[in-house]
Amino acid sequence: MTASLVFDDVSVRLGDRLALDSVSLVLDRQRTAVIGANGSGKSTFARVLGGLVAPSGGSVSVFGVDPVRQASAVRRLVGFVFSNPDAQIIMPTVAEDAAFSLRSERLPRAESAERVRLALAEFGLTELADRAAHDLSGGQKQLLALVGAVIRRPQLLIADEPTAFLDARNSRLIADHLLAPTDRSLVLVTHDLDLAQRCDVAVLFEDGRMIGHGDPADIVARYESSLSC
């Protein structure tokens, strides 16, 4: 399945700052990297896409759904992983936290338990099912956050700097899970340019404006050349 994410002249004003400035973009590729400096608008772009921030102007479409007017519909389509794993843990234990994402779906208990079992197994967390979630390592917590997002089987997974708090080993582990071939699309906000180059397309932001998108190698090279100026 390919993504169909459309930004049409989207602006976002946060206080007196223009966090996104007239961004127009169509994404039809499966894995999209979003890169740029701190404060360039990457995270705001991701949050608008996930329906967490409403645009001040313009329109957004996620698989034909408006994230503002059809918030509950977009929740079913989109999973979100943030950079700070601590802030994503809702329930005390690993299995309960994974199951929490399914509460709104009102699944039969057996089906919910089976989905949790499969998801924990996929991410190597089966042995930790009854452990206190806040006692896990940073990498394990981020894996759990990933479980919490993908267990609802979203069509689009948005990951906002998911490896920012992790060491090299755990970063690679999370990246491998995120970039593994699946049916779902991925929008990956990252400062890791190697990770960006593993995606199918890259988007470059600067001062709230989208200044380029296309082949990841080209976009990363453009970004790196701007850093050396």
Partner: protein, 198 residues
């Protein structure tokens, strides 16, 4: 960590959360309403021990629970023994501790998810008054989970202050603690929204 649940397969673990909560509530009330006598103290202590032995939770766990409430024991007994006879002070303290450790059996043997389901079910009748049981249950779950995070934030703030040579003080601690806690609350709100709750 406030994750009190201890995995197990005994009958108390398998018992449905609602009836189990009601049964434990009855026992806690019975212990609480006993008179302040040596006999009542012995019966209260005996009931608490039985509640841990019969479902095979074990005396070691009972010991851990008593250690966890040691300051409640000190304060309760310390204040009462000043104003009341030794028999009353002892019996009252034993009743309070017995009630707490018996009530703890609910969270020791029940997953939070099952507790929330039971809680939602129990509050279902209040929907007609505009109460949303799912939301109340969620608030409880988030409160339970957030306590260790706040403790970690507090440690982080203190360490940052020490690293920068700042003197310890309520004001210099409270302001950064509140700022970081509110940021955490913001992030948690986003995470809840993203997971389909809001």
């Amino acid at each position: 960590m406030l994750t009190l649940y201890r995995p197990g397969t005994g009958w108390l673990h398998r018992a449905p959360a609602g009836p189990k909560a009601l049964a434990l509530l009855v026992i806690v009330l019975a212990v609480s309403l006993m008179p302040s006598t040596w006999l009542a103290a012995a019966v209260g202590a005996g009931v608490a021990v039985a509640c841990y032995l019969v479902p095979r939770i074990g005396l070691a766990e009972l010991g851990r629970q008593i250690v966890a409430v040691r300051w409640i024991i000190v304060v309760t007994f310390g204040f009462q023994v000043i104003f009341l006879p030794l028999e009353s002070a002892t019996a009252n303290t034993v009743r309070v501790v017995a009630a707490i450790v018996i009530a703890a059996l609910l969270v020791l043997t029940t997953r939070v998810g099952d507790l929330l389901d039971a809680f939602e079910l129990g509050l279902g009748g209040f929907r007609r008054f505009g109460l949303d049981p799912a939301r109340v249950a969620l608030v409880l779950a988030v409160a339970i989970t957030t306590v260790p995070v706040l403790a970690r934030i507090a440690v982080g703030v203190r360490e940052s202050q020490r690293a920068r040579g700042a003197r310890a003080g309520i004001r210099s601690f409270v302001i950064p603690f509140l700022v970081v806690s509110l940021k955490h609350a913001d992030d948690l709100g986003d995470a809840l929204t993203a997971r389909g709750v809001a």
